[in-house]
């Protein structure tokens, strides 16, 4: 595997800024859900690191559940529309206050589909918390209630976001210099 120092263009958000912002988000969510019945839903796998850190700052009673989705058709990044649910929720979300936790909202196609699908199960409320929002790429409108950072349309990695499945464990979010990056064999 290539050392990321060889292809990193810049650090977009450093470790300290991420952690400070997550603490703020956790406090905001704790205030907003004080009298509610919060269920956090993590969409695997990118959202894991963000979720684990966010959860530590949420002081209201919280349940946790997971979903795994994949797209029909070729290439996860070229998602056309239909989404395949590889892992459904264990929890019945009817009358629950559901907060979907995502690492990044890009085209918005997948998350819009997931929201529509979850809405049919009649939760009491359904909101979205994303660490990163790449608004420029949006194809389907998505209501975002909690946003860590708005970012430009650049190829990012680190802090849960992978590059060909690697580098998820880096504590910062960085931009890839695609001219220098060599995908693993």
């Amino acid at each position: 595997m290539q050392d990321y120092h060889n292809f990193i263009a810049e650090i977009l958000i450093d470790e300290q800024s991420i952690q400070t912002r997550i603490k703020e988000l956790g406090e905001e969510i704790s205030r907003d859900y004080k009298t509610k019945n919060l269920l956090l839903i993590c969409i695997l796998r990118g959202g894991i690191v963000f979720l684990v850190d966010l959860m530590r700052h949420i002081t209201v009673p919280t349940q946790l559940d997971f979903m795994a989705v994949s797209s029909y058709g070729a290439g996860a990044r070229q998602s056309g529309g239909s989404v395949r649910l590889s892992l459904d929720l264990k929890t019945d979300i009817r009358n629950k206050d559901v907060l979907l936790v995502e690492d990044i909202v890009d085209s918005g196609n997948t998350i819009a589909y997931v929201l529509e699908f979850l809405q049919t199960r009649q939760p009491r409320s359904l909101k979205v918390c994303t660490l990163l929002d790449k608004e420029e790429r949006r194809e389907t409108p998505v209501p975002i209630h909690y946003r860590g950072f708005s970012i430009p349309n650049k190829f990012v990695f680190g802090y849960g976001l992978d590059l060909d499945e690697y580098y998820r464990n880096l504590p910062f979010i960085a931009v890839v210099d695609l001219k220098k990056y060599q995908p693993p064999a």
Partner: protein
């Protein structure tokens, strides 16, 4: 939801001790797999927090995948030992170094079963890292390669481990006084 302070028996492992031990394990695993690549398999849902924190300390190239399992039969304790795979790996593990990361090993039945299943896929190596080892409950011999802490045979929660899906966010590992729990898990 009941306040955990009403039923907590004692804090078995505090936040600082967990963080130090997780860092040590991360360093040890990085050392053991030096110059090799590793696929980290997180067993949902309990293993999530541990996996996220452990991999932050990895200095080796690694990828991440998740599995979700449940037992057939009524309740966790009346299990036949057969395991149902709710979410299988996305990765083909043939020829890979695989490290299974789990929150707790108890009877060892689930773990033994999943190890047996994964071995049929012919990984290059297959090891296990658990945060907590409840050795006294072991019914099936299982080789655990990395252990965070040995814990006594008590009902534990916190740091990813739930009581009825709650309290996973607590930064420490505590034991519950079952008599004070309003709804026994």
């Amino acid at each position: 939801m009941q306040d955990y302070r009403e039923f907590i028996d004692e804090v078995l492992v505090d936040e600082k001790t967990i963080a130090n031990r997780v860092a040590e394990l991360g360093e040890q695993i990085s050392h053991d797999y030096a110059d090799q690549e590793l696929l980290v398999v997180c067993l949902l849902r309990g293993g999530l927090t541990f996996t996220a924190d452990l991999t932050r300390h990895f200095t080796i190239p690694h990828t991440l995948d998740c599995m979700s399992l449940s037992s057939y039969g009524v309740g966790n304790y009346a299990s036949s030992g057969n395991v149902r795979v709710n979410l299988d790996l996305m990765t083909n593990i043939e020829g890979l170094n695989v490290l299974l990361v789990e929150d707790i090993v108890d009877s060892g039945r689930t773990l033994a079963h999943v190890l047996q299943m994964l071995k049929t896929r012919e990984p290059k190596s297959l090891k296990v890292c658990v945060l907590l080892d409840k050795k006294y409950r072991r019914e099936v011999p299982v080789e655990v390669d990395y252990v965070g802490f040995d814990v006594p045979d008590r009902y534990v929660f916190g740091y990813g481990i739930d009581v009825d899906e709650h309290y996973r966010h607590l930064p420490f590992i505590a034991s519950a006084d079952m008599k004070k729990l309003k709804k026994a898990p």
